[in-house]
Symmetry: C2
DNA sequence: AAAAACTATTGACAAATGTCAACGTTTTTA
DNA sequence: TAAAAACGTTGACATTTGTCAATAGTTTTT
């Protein structure tokens, strides 16, 4: 829904109503049902995508068929594959709805034009990117410095609402361990 | 040296000579000898730092005294701790010169002012940030989906000049494995 | 030139993690 | 509502990785 996006923007930056309306006029509404895909491996990603409701995940599948989850995207978050977007190369990732979702799509060219036309919007976008970068850095630091148990505890601590929303094996995939190992880590911790 | 920075900017964006000079006028030159620190854990990081010559690493030290390397920064790269910078919180990281280095420091407020005043400069900064984000995402994907051996091969493939410039145990630290394991991975691979 | 520090390797062993299979339960689908 | 799929757990076992210690070669410092 457009209202969700409107509220999202207004929370971040105070922008003239008309500008916001113009931005909204470029949004393409896409509805996804659970297990449908927003992006499939091999396709080129051409949008900026705002999740106005529902829940998505982005993941790759390796030679052995194992899935590796790069991100979860609940409502009020963005998703997509920026590498595919900027290089116009086939994506390594799948983006799939874990719950029925409503997405606002902005074509790359439209989005870039809007960023140029509305500096406030551009600033907001860059701020989001900046925060995403900080989040990435933290995830990297966890991955090279923490034990599996610490990675799990950290995840639950930082993303409690996501931890409650996805099956356990997806948390395992996100932090880079097998589902069995996570199960054992949890049962060990319970005994203490 | 200022010349290096000038060339760096001119390679990325065509900016009026005067603007560039003004930007340069805010640079603080800092020389570091091997093993000196640009930032020490616990201090708040207050700059944007451009490496005009030399070579730095950023790392944390855990409870057991093990170092975990977050990044390497050769000449023509930026370094610092953005999380500490934006939140004004004590840094978890140390930034240390691995080779004698010359750094250009821009105080946070100066740098932000320059970004506001010179849109081209601002764009350049945001582009760099964007690329850093893509790099981070790739590192995350490696860390959750590759074996240790693959992580090492990947590192050498992507950063050959860094791989040749640092001791092996630092590569191990960067990819999140012990130095002994890396040594064994390499000797195994040699047999094949 | 000698001493100290750093680096990479290797062995022995312990600990952590992955793999495969089986099972019962819960959730989803038809 | 019955069948199928998904989920989490557990056991047995193999594999990977970490830890500690010793060693030899190299580089740096004094």
């Amino acid at each position: 829904m457009l209202e969700v996006f409107k509220k999202y923007i207004n929370d971040k930056v105070s922008m003239p109503e008309d500008d916001l309306s113009e931005i909204l006029s470029y949004a393409i509404l896409k509805k996804l049902r659970r297990r449908q895909f927003l992006l499939q491996e091999g396709d080129v990603w051409r949008y900026n995508a705002f999740v106005s409701s529902g829940f998505l995940r982005k993941y790759s599948v390796d030679d052995k068929g194992t899935e590796h989850i790069m991100s979860f995207s609940p409502e009020n978050y963005w998703t997509g594959d920026r590498e595919s977007l900027v290089n116009e190369t086939p994506s390594k990732f799948n983006i799939e709805a874990l719950e029925n979702a409503e997405i606002l799509l902005f074509k790359k060219d439209d989005f870039d034009m809007l960023c140029k036309k509305f500096p406030l919007f551009n600033n907001m976008v860059n701020n989001i990117l900046h925060r995403s970068f900080l989040t990435s850095q933290n995830r990297i630091h966890s991955s090279i410095s923490l034990t599996s148990e610490e990675k799990y505890n950290n995840f639950v601590l930082k993303f409690p609402s996501i931890a409650n929303r996805v099956p356990q094996h997806m948390i395992a995939s996100y932090i880079g361990i097998s589902p069995e190992t996570l199960s054992r880590i949890r049962s060990q911790a319970n005994k203490r």
